[in-house]
Point group: C2
Chain length 328, copies 2
DNA sequence: TTGAAAGCGCTAACAC
DNA sequence: GTGTTAGCGCTTTCAA
């Protein structure tokens, strides 16, 4: 019961294997009748599926793209992964997902290995040095997610407007002393956020208290909460939603609650932010769209050799973690 | 600058490509000296990496396994995915991850497609009918995750002991009226849980109030909270951590808090449970170990054609969502 | 222990 | 439009 190959079909029909091959890979090159006949007998023989491996060997294209994420357990990434996969599946390319495992030092190495076995790359790596990234991806067409590096294609999320809205939201609630809990340095998105908020504070009627940097994690948030409590801030921008959770936990341990004692704004709108009590006011990014755009960018890159950076926008999502200011 | 192939090396050394091939794939079959020479010149030529595609075509083995998860955004899966990948990487096999996208109806279809392009499968599919699963995987060696089907290899997590401990824990805190918020039917793990707790209740000094079924989601938990409030229960087993979040939110909306008014036990110990305030008392499963065991099982299966089911154990993790009973 | 040669299944010039 | 003919780079008998 050998698998059905183009040879088997060709023999059955007394035609050339090449014609059968064309019927599947370049249907337009084959007369409609013949094509129909081929498909019919293929079906009769139990269904033909081109052997991808053979196709690969012959064309030199792998038919798969690599997707690198630094930490699959960070809830920010799964929705993105899903979106990339869904889009890739539509053009019949398989996604090889590599998880950095939170091990930043190893990222470059993993990306290099990945680059060797795919046609193109989609990379989310906020922390690895730009130069290293450029070297690691080498000549493999690459799209960066939520990060910009000169000369590379990318899909980024502009959170400026949303952050300004968040700031205004806090002002509207009466907050005038607001803490900015900075994330660790070296992350593109993080630096954008910090800058945006600091710029905003220079013109807004607000006393911005910049704290940190803190690790972008629950632990980091815990640490931040301690510092936060020593200030007069009545509201705070957490680096991301996970950090916000740590802040909430830290405040809780000090008998303070959100938003009663402190209003808190997260970032990313991960599942966490939605199911937490209180629901987290945060900045969402269009994950679906970003994943989809990344794949489209990559397809462009693969086809034309070039693709300009693309920008999407974040949005403020107001939930229950922000409330009216209360004297402390 | 063609890539370095066995032919290039062979020519350089004036030996047969076959020998070079053997030097890499069956080193024992080639004289040590020759082998050394081969490796040396390969290095000199810029480093040789066997072309996987060619190898695949030749051997018929793809060198990759498929990993199916029903919903990558469910925080239960990412740690598992990571563990499977880590283990697979150690034996140089790549993992093709397919996410069901919460679309149960489509699962079987996706699994079928996946099965066609890999050497083996690791499948987490709590809901798809056993028979369908058997058909879909066909002759492809398959390991089931956290589910048991007669005749298939699997890695399951026995949460019996942990659940009994959780029950005792609630008893120790003085709870006597305890609600069981059932998950939807048809999930293997869910049914195990329900049965275990119901069995326990028949012998323990407790009034078990079985509610549900509820969807295994935040929404499901919200719904459950409404029903819960109509009972006299002072504690509850939620189906999983996500559901527990919904319960907390629902209780909060009714001015009730955890564990002050109701004690709550989750299940799975996902990230959520750890970063929530209050931290969720829950049943953890050894994800790392399960992922690793699944790959080992699969390797056994691939090598011997057979592998017996393997069992791991869950553990009770006590955090802050359970506390002393309080009269209602 | 090594070499020669025949594939693995498909694609892509190039001719007809 | 279709057939012929080489490969793609590796593994694996079979002989030597």
């Amino acid at each position: 019961m050998g698998r059905v190959t183009i040879y088997a079909i060709a023999e059955q029909l007394q035609i050339s294997p090449a014609t059968v091959s064309r019927a599947y890979s370049r249907p337009d090159l084959v007369k409609a009748e013949v094509r129909a006949e081929i498909f019919a007998t293929a079906e009769k023989m139990g269904g033909y599926h081109p052997n991808k491996t053979a196709r690969r060997l012959s064309t030199g294209r792998t038919g798969s793209i690599g997707l690198f994420v630094p930490d699959i357990t960070n809830p920010f990434f799964p929705p993105l992964i899903r979106a990339v996969q869904r889009t890739a599946a539509a053009s019949d390319t398989t996604v090889i997902l590599i998880d950095g495992g939170q091990d930043t030092d190893n990222e470059i190495h993993l990306i290099e290995r990945l680059a060797a076995q795919v046609d193109g790359l989609v990379i989310a790596s906020p922390r690895s040095p730009a130069q290293k990234l450029i070297e690691a991806t080498g000549s493999v067409p690459t799209v960066l997610l939520d990060r910009q590096i000169d000369g590379m294609a990318s899909v980024i999320c502009d959170r400026t407007t949303a952050l300004l809205e968040a700031g205004q939201h806090l002002l509207d609630l009466g907050h005038r002393a607001i803490a900015l809990l900075r994330g660790t340095d070296g992350s593109w998105a993080a630096e954008q956020r910090t800058r945006t908020i600091q710029d905003w504070a220079t013109t807004a009627p607000v006393d911005l208290i910049t704290l940190g940097p803190y690790d972008a994690s629950f632990q980091g948030g815990l640490g931040a909460s301690a510092d936060l409590l020593e200030t007069q801030a009545t509201a705070a921008f957490a680096f991301d939603d996970l950090t916000a959770c740590g802040v909430i936990a830290g405040l809780d341990a000090a008998q303070k609650s959100v938003p009663h004692d402190v209003s808190l704004v997260g970032c990313d709108d991960v599942l966490l932010a939605q199911v937490l009590t209180p629901g987290l006011t945060t900045i969402s990014s269009p994950n679906d769209r970003m994943g989809e755009l990344a794949m489209r960018q990559l397809e462009l890159l693969l086809a034309n050799g070039t693709a300009a950076p693309v920008t999407t926008s974040g949005a403020l999502v107001v939930r229950q973690s922000t409330g009216p200011v209360r004297p402390r």
